[in-house]
């Protein structure tokens, strides 16, 4: 049986605990039970990418996961990028400088994808960047400034 489970997991380096019905999605659990509202919901069927987070180092759609599936996992959400002092991560700085956001609703998802991409592939080509970014919808920016932000972030992370 067990339609309700206790869930223990790590998010942004901190331990969290909660209880949820098995049918509760991970994104709802993060937002409602753990109070981490930075990750947004745009479609609940895996197309828009707004809910994208990192699970064990890989970007996933948190609307397409059950909270119970994250038991014991290591997650990263947008709240884990900036320092506790408020100092922005270089990726966030790059988005700021290149005006890679307008309303900001899709932005956390984009930031997480940018993070994984540049971690795994610091020398990503423009085509590789576009491939990764193609899993996200943005209605405000038209994407060009987002691409410029990712390019700037890549160069900053390479120490240029």
């Amino acid at each position: 049986m067990a339609t309700t489970r206790a869930i223990k997991l790590r998010v942004n380096g901190a331990d969290y605990e909660g209880t949820a019905e098995a049918r509760k999605t991970l994104v709802d659990f993060l937002r409602e039970d753990l109070g981490l509202c930075g990750t947004n919901i745009g479609c609940e069927h895996g197309v828009c990418g707004a809910c994208t987070i990192l699970m064990n180092g890989e970007t996933v759609r948190s609307c397409l996961m059950l909270a119970v599936q994250a038991e014991g996992a290591e997650l990263m959400t947008v709240e884990g990028l900036a320092k506790a002092t408020g100092e922005l991560h270089p990726i966030q700085e790059a988005y700021r400088e290149k005006h890679g956001l307008q309303c900001g609703f899709c932005t956390p998802g984009f930031l997480m994808t940018t993070y994984e991409l540049l971690q795994k592939n610091p020398d990503a080509t423009v085509d590789e960047m576009k491939e990764w970014l193609s899993g996200h919808l943005c209605r405000c920016t038209g994407y060009q400034d987002i691409l410029e932000s990712v390019k700037l972030a890549a160069s900053r992370l390479r120490g240029e």
């Binding site: 509202c37 745009g42 922005l88 996200h136 919808l137």
Partner: protein, 807 residues
């Protein structure tokens, strides 16, 4: 006395603006980037319930019976709202023209598949959705009306109970001598077009949190409300609640594009809140609801158009007949989208004789609602396509025919056929710039070469006008009783505190267009402080000044005007106080570079914060009429707008931003897929307060336009069932579908608007569909084909190529 409104940044009281006109980092960004901004969906209030909406599966049905008893018994369910409650407690949702809408919930009859039929409030959304399944509804399906053209000719059935027609709106506008012009023309080009509906689809859906306290009859609404004063009248009318008993507290929005200016769901949630007797209830629209049920579809048009020309290509007349399938209701201000083309009937071209016949028809589909660009993109497409057709028939080059007809630089302010005025522009200059930057001759050669190899490569060069700040005068044509007004107020409060910091209060939340940032830019330059010294606060509907909010490309104009007006009033108080402090006449005191100084007397100057501080600390020394408060409010209104006469002749908008776009495409003849090879735009939106923000808006509009041209379509079957109810079928453009475009600036400052700005919020969406669609038709020219149904899906293109649709 308050000084006249600066018409250029150089007229600001600063030697060299540090912020206005520059790429200033946005104040909105840090919270957005760190996920710490509180969108409506993030709000939690103690005791808050969650709502889910049961929607009719039938395009047209009578509701014989609703039994909510099993739903009400489900553990966690607090209450269920039905049509019976809604009918008792409200009036039908406001709409223009009046009388063609229904209640916020289906009462006795459902009018479209997706219309709300019941609302459940429960402890969480999961349980609320469980409860929906326990509601029993007996429907008696009725024959739906689905074909707008037949409905326009009088065919039933009729959507609204008590109506003997589906023709909600029917007007003919004639400007100039249209019949005469057509009779004398050398050539008349005629075509029919079909534009299928799409919608705004902001990534954040609509959110409303309602709390209606029965003890003090206070209705508090939180969530994604774009413009509180826009929806307040609708609430007052529908709910019968005094305006001062409503408090709308806006959250930062995840985009709007027209979608969140609307009132239907706010009324519905308020009624749910009423049923709950004081407990707050939150509704977060899900994506399927947004696609089928939120009454925000836009522009479902059948066009029949004619363009009359002299043989040298001079356009002498235009006739536009259109039928717009409004869906089940003529709701809210959607009818304005039929009327907005009146503001720029000829676009950038001088077309003196124009007939515009428009019909708004009800059918059993999702109602239309506001969408960015408000009805102009299809109009510009049909016009540009007709011009391309005419060019071909007359053996003229696409550039030359446009040049010939452009409104000349010397003609501004230009009075268009409908009386609407374009303030400034330089279309020929923009065109020259566009062709130069795009390398047009080279593109022509590339096209030649590609064609010689059998490739389908097409080019287009198109124009558009983006009217800045429209609104009531246009709506007066559909509802003179309510909209006989020229006002579109935007009000702010500006204050300096004891520490020399500034506070600005605005009546709308951030939503992506950076208004809060440019408020800081203007105030910082005006008073010589830094942008970090300016705090911009969104205040709620009871605290705000009269305001319209960010709709219809208005904020650069109206908000600048409001800020400058308040700044001038504050400056006036400061000058009079400084006069006392400097022992000079206030008429000799000027504000410049953050100092109040005596004209012509160097050394006699005080920093602004000193003077503000003096006002706060020494009320005993203040001059007559100056209160001890360095604060001012101002409500800006567009000057010179008129109420249109019966012909529809009037002055509707304030500014006219202009754009010229070039698009080059290749069509794969075997698959119908379109690749955009090159895209260049020149935009003239007057002075750019923050260039990177303007550029971002243009690129966003471009992406939206590509979606509208090639991908986005709500498809209905012949029984009125929607077939595109998820993001698998309603296709939004991703980075892969949007070309890397070049953007260049032409600037003819507005002589009317503050700081010379023109609105740019709706931007490239006006122009891009025309650019892409005309380029595709140019690509198909060697095959003798023209497509006239948009979006141009691969299937439509392939069918046309197979079937040889004649050009």
């Amino acid at each position: 006395m308050a000084s006249p409104e600066p018409k250029l940044p150089s007229e600001l009281p600063v030697t060299q603006p540090r912020y206005v006109g520059k790429d200033t980092p946005r104040v909105e960004d840090p919270l957005l980037l760190t996920g710490r901004v509180e969108y409506g969906g993030d709000i939690r209030i103690p005791g808050m319930l969650h709502a889910a909406i049961l929607r009719s599966p039938h395009p047209h049905a009578r509701i014989k019976r609703i039994d909510t008893s099993r739903a009400e018994k489900l553990a966690g369910v607090a209450a269920v709202l039905t049509g019976e409650d809604v009918k008792k407690w409200s009036r039908p949702v406001f709409g223009v023209p009046e009388g063609w809408t229904g209640y916020a919930l289906a009462v006795e009859k459902s009018h479209w598949a997706g219309e709300p039929v019941a609302v459940v409030a429960a402890s969480d959304r999961y349980i609320a959705e469980d409860a929906l399944e326990l509601i029993e509804v007996d429907y008696e399906p009725l024959e739906p009306v689905v074909d707008a053209v037949r409905a326009a000719a009088g065919a039933g059935p009729f959507v609204l109970e008590g109506k003997e027609s589906n023709l909600a709106f029917d007007r003919k506008f004639v400007f100039g001598d249209v019949e005469g012009a057509f009779a004398q023309a050398d050539r008349v080009v005629r075509e029919k077009f079909r534009w299928y509906r799409s919608s705004g689809n902001s990534i954040e859906t609509c959110v409303c949190i309602a709390e209606w306290n029965p003890v003090n009859n206070m209705l508090t609404l939180r969530g994604s409300h774009r413009s509180p004063h826009l929806i307040l009248p609708a609430l007052v009318i529908s709910l019968g609640i005094p305006s001062t008993q409503v408090r709308i507290i806006q959250s930062p929005l995840g985009g709007s594009f027209g979608v969140k200016t609307f009132a239907r769901y706010v009324i519905l949630l308020s009624l749910m809140a009423k049923k709950l007797g004081g407990r707050p209830v939150k509704w977060v629209e899900d994506r399927i609801e947004h696609l089928i049920g939120s009454s925000t579809h836009a522009w479902d048009r059948h066009y029949d158009c004619e363009l009359a020309l002299k043989k040298d290509g001079t356009i002498v007349g235009l006739k536009v007949k259109l039928i717009d399938d409004l869906g089940a209701f003529a709701e809210w201000l959607a009818i304005g989208m039929l009327l907005k083309p009146l503001l720029a009937l000829g676009s950038c071209y001088h077309i003196p004789n124009v007939e515009y016949v428009c019909k708004g028809i009800l059918t059993n589909k999702t109602p239309q609602g506001p969408l960015r660009a408000f009805g102009l993109p299809p109009h510009y497409w049909v016009l540009e396509q007709l011009i391309d057709m005419a060019a071909k028939e007359l053996g003229l080059d696409r550039i030359e025919i446009r040049r010939r007809n452009f409104i000349k630089k010397e003609s501004f302010p230009y009075v268009s056929p409908s009386g609407n005025i374009y303030d400034s522009g330089n279309y020929e200059g923009s065109l020259d710039l566009l062709l130069e930057k795009a390398g047009y001759p080279k593109l022509l050669r590339e096209q030649e070469e590609a064609r010689s190899k059998g490739r389908l490569v097409g080019l287009s060069v198109v124009s558009s006008i983006e009217p800045g700040l429209t609104g009531p005068p246009m709506l007066a044509l559909a509802s003179p009783k309510i909209f006989t007004r020229t006002a579109s107020p935007e009000g702010v409060l500006v204050r300096m505190d004891a520490f020399g910091k500034m506070i600005a209060e605005v009546g709308f939340p951030p939503g992506g267009q950076s208004q809060h940032s440019f408020v800081r830019q203007i105030l910082a330059d005006y008073f010589g402080v830094t942008v970090e010294d300016v705090q911009v606060i969104t205040v709620d509907s009871l605290t705000m000044q009269p305001g319209t909010g960010p709709i219809s490309s208005s904020m650069a104009i109206a908000l600048s005007g409001a800020i400058l007006g308040a700044a001038a009033r504050l400056a006036d108080k400061l000058k009079r106080t400084a006069g006392v402090m400097l022992e000079a006449s206030p008429d000799d005191v000027e504000l410049m570079d953050g100092q109040l100084r005596v004209r012509g007397v160097p050394g006699k100057a005080l920093p602004v914060p000193r003077v503000a501080g003096f006002m706060l600390m020494r009320p005993d020394l203040l001059p007559e009429g100056v209160d001890g408060n360095p604060e001012a409010t101002y409500v800006w209104n567009p000057p010179d707008r008129t109420i249109p006469d019966e012909r529809g002749f009037g002055r509707y908008s304030v500014t006219a931003a202009g754009a010229q776009h070039l698009c080059m495409v290749e069509v794969d003849r075997d698959t119908g897929l379109v690749k955009i090879l090159k895209y260049v735009m020149v935009d003239d939106c007057g002075i750019r307060l923050n260039p990177s923000v303007v550029r971002g808006m243009l690129m966003g509009g471009l992406a939206h336009g590509v979606g509208a041209a090639l991908l986005e379509e709500y498809v209905y079957d012949d029984k009125g069932q929607i077939l595109t109810s998820t993001y698998m079928d309603y296709l939004m453009p991703t980075i892969m579908e949007v070309p890397a475009a070049e953007e260049h600036e032409m600037c003819t400052p507005s002589p009317i608007a503050p700081l010379g700005v023109k609105g740019v919020g709706e931007a490239a969406l006006h122009t891009t569909p025309a650019a892409v669609l005309c380029a595709v038709n140019d690509a198909l020219q060697p095959l003798g084909i023209r497509i006239t149904e948009a979006p141009f899906s691969p299937l439509r293109i392939w069918k046309a190529i197979q079937g040889g649709q004649t050009a």
